[in-house]
Each structure stands twice: as C-alpha cells, then as structure tokens.
Symmetry: C2
C-alpha cells in the first residue's frame, strides 16, 4: 500500500483548521491513509525569527478576509477568536495521547478542538478545557490531564516539532506526499492532482 | 460591460511571472478585459518593513521548490536568475509609456521582459536592455530611454504603487475583481470561480 499522507498542523492555525475539514476526503479519494501530526508553530517561528500572521499588518488585513471567504466557499463555520494566536501545547499533547489509543478518535478530537476554538473562541490553552473536550469523546478527563503533564507527550510534541523544522516545514498546514512538500490550505488541489498523476 | 480585472505585479516576482501567463485567458473566458499594472514591490516592502521572500530562509527553500513545480505544471519555462530580486523601475516606467500607446503591446512587452529575466537571467535593471527589448517589439529605443528618464512615467509608477498600498495590496501578483482582492498565483482558480459564480 502507498505511503500515508502526512498532515502537519498547529491548533491555532486558521488555514490548518480549514484544511482539517478536507484532507481526509483527499486521502480517501486516492486510497491513502492520512496521518495527522499537530506541531508547535510558535516554537518554529521563534527559532526562525518569523512573526505571526496577525502581526504583519497588510498581510493580516488580506488574510483575515481570505480565510473568511475560503471558509464560506467550503461551507465551514468560521469566527476569529478574540484571543489569537495562542500556544497549543495542551491540545497537541492530548492529541498524541489519544492517537496512541485510536488514530480516528484523535482526528475527531482534533476537529472538535479546532471547531470549539474557531467557531466559539473556547480557550483551548486551558488544560481543563482540553480535558473536558476529551471527556465529550468518552475519554477520561483525569487521564487526559495526566497525559498533558507527562514527559512522554511533552517530548512527543517537541520531537514532532523538531523533525518538522528539520524537514523545512515553514507554516501550517503542511502536507507531505512522500517527500514532496505542500504548504497551505491553498495547495490542497495540487496535492489532489499530485496524487492523481503521481507527480509531474 | 463588466469592469476590467486589475492585474498588479512586480517584474521581479516569480509568481507574478507565472500568473502573467494565465491571467488573460481567465479574463477572456469571462469576457472581461484585464488591465495590467506593474508596481514596485520593493518600495512597498520598505514602507511595511517586510523582507524579500529570498531572505526568509525556510520560506525560500520551500518557495523556490514550489515555483519550479508550478512552472512545470503549467508548462512555463523557468530558471531562477542569479541576481534576484532586483529593482524594476526601468521596466515599470517603460511599460506605462507603451501602455499609453497600445495596451496589448504593453502586455507583450511585459511578457518579454518577464521571459528574458526568468528564463535567461537578462539584467532587466538596465535601461539600455529595457530599450533593446522595446526595440524588439518595433518601438524606438531612444524614445523608450527618454520615457524611462521622464518625470511623467516616474510619477506614474510611483502613483500606481502608492494607490496599491492604499488598497492594501500586500504582494505580487495581486488581482482585483471589482474591489475583491486576490493575492498570489495560487488564487487564480479562485478568481476564475469568483467570476463564474459572481462571488459567494
């Protein structure tokens, strides 16, 4: 079977949120598994001296309009949270804890976190809120909180982020088809075409 | 008749170069005139404290790969010039001089400048080289050189750039359908869809 598609994203990334609604359908169309891999975009920006999109005034004016327009195009609910962007350690660690148990459930969890943040502005920085979202999916809140504070999942999230930097991931979402890199929600059609044609 | 599409670009912009090969076909498909408007991205970056793509290491690694892949996808010849990016005052002023005489000829000139720069690395900063390219299209070299040095076309290029900044243009290429802004070669399919559906 062909290698899985890798879908890297940060939980505070609007275009990651949009892509999370579409990436699995692209995988299914081409009979490819999609591995979801949250990472820490903030850590990456610090290392590379980049600034968050929202601090780049002209770009943000345009991008906030583009995000809303793109969400409308795909029928995805969208509302910019008051606090944005935010650090996403708790969500990322909880994801990997769930992912070890059940990859499909971890995707459901990721979509739930994304939706609550980008449609209701829920403060997903909070460990307790992440624990409650895990509970909504039938998982134990206490076990989730322990996972968030455990060295195992701290390390896991750090390692994924370091490896992403090594592979020159420069934003979120970032998709790998084999070693072929695609950056941005706006490359999903190209990912689809790349899979269809086996590259060009 | 529907308002023209506005196509803003800098002569030193790889994605502008790619879009220049496709934008008029999109206009024709929807029976819309396309107005080409070179501007000075460098001046805009200075005002906004942005850095050229090439100086943003991680982004450039990815983007140089993406540009080549996109050019291949659309069958457009591409080679990164040794000197890149460059100031594009001479080409911009010559464009507006030609544009006053013949808008179609100005587009041919723009494509010629783009091709010689992005396939052969010709130094299009040089007024004399711009004059020679004008000559290839049957225009007078001396008249072109006078236009490049004239206050009229200096002002024209400055004015287009200032107005672009006022309209929050944040990169090249940048397309307006009425007041709807689209940034990047990767928004051309969206422009097409927007024209098809009259927006959403």
């Amino acid at each position: 079977m062909a290698k899985p598609i890798e879908f890297l994203f940060d939980f505070s990334s609007p275009y990651g949120y949009l892509a999370a609604h579409r990436i699995d359908a692209i995988g299914q169309k081409h009979n490819r598994e999609v591995k979801w891999r949250p990472f820490l975009l903030g850590a990456m920006f610090q290392i590379n001296g980049q600034r968050p999109l929202k601090e780049q005034v002209l770009k943000w004016d345009y991008s906030s309009h583009d995000i809303e327009r793109t969400a409308r195009r795909y029928g995805i609910e969208w509302e910019l949270p008051e606090v944005f962007p935010i650090p996403t350690h708790a969500a990322g660690r909880a994801f990997y804890w769930i992912n070890e148990q059940d990859e499909e459930l971890a995707k459901q969890f990721a979509l739930l976190v994304y939706q609550r943040y980008f449609t209701q502005g829920l403060d997903i920085r909070s460990k307790n809120i992440i624990g409650e979202l895990a509970m909504e999916l039938g998982l134990g809140t206490d076990a989730c909180l322990r996972a968030i504070d455990s060295d195992i999942y701290k390390e896991k999230l750090k390692t994924v982020t370091s490896k992403a930097i090594e592979r020159k991931v420069c934003g979120s979402p970032f998709i790998f088809v084999g070693n072929e890199p695609f950056w941005g929600h706006d490359r999903l059609d190209m990912v689809d075409e790349w899979l269809q044609t086996d590259g060009w």
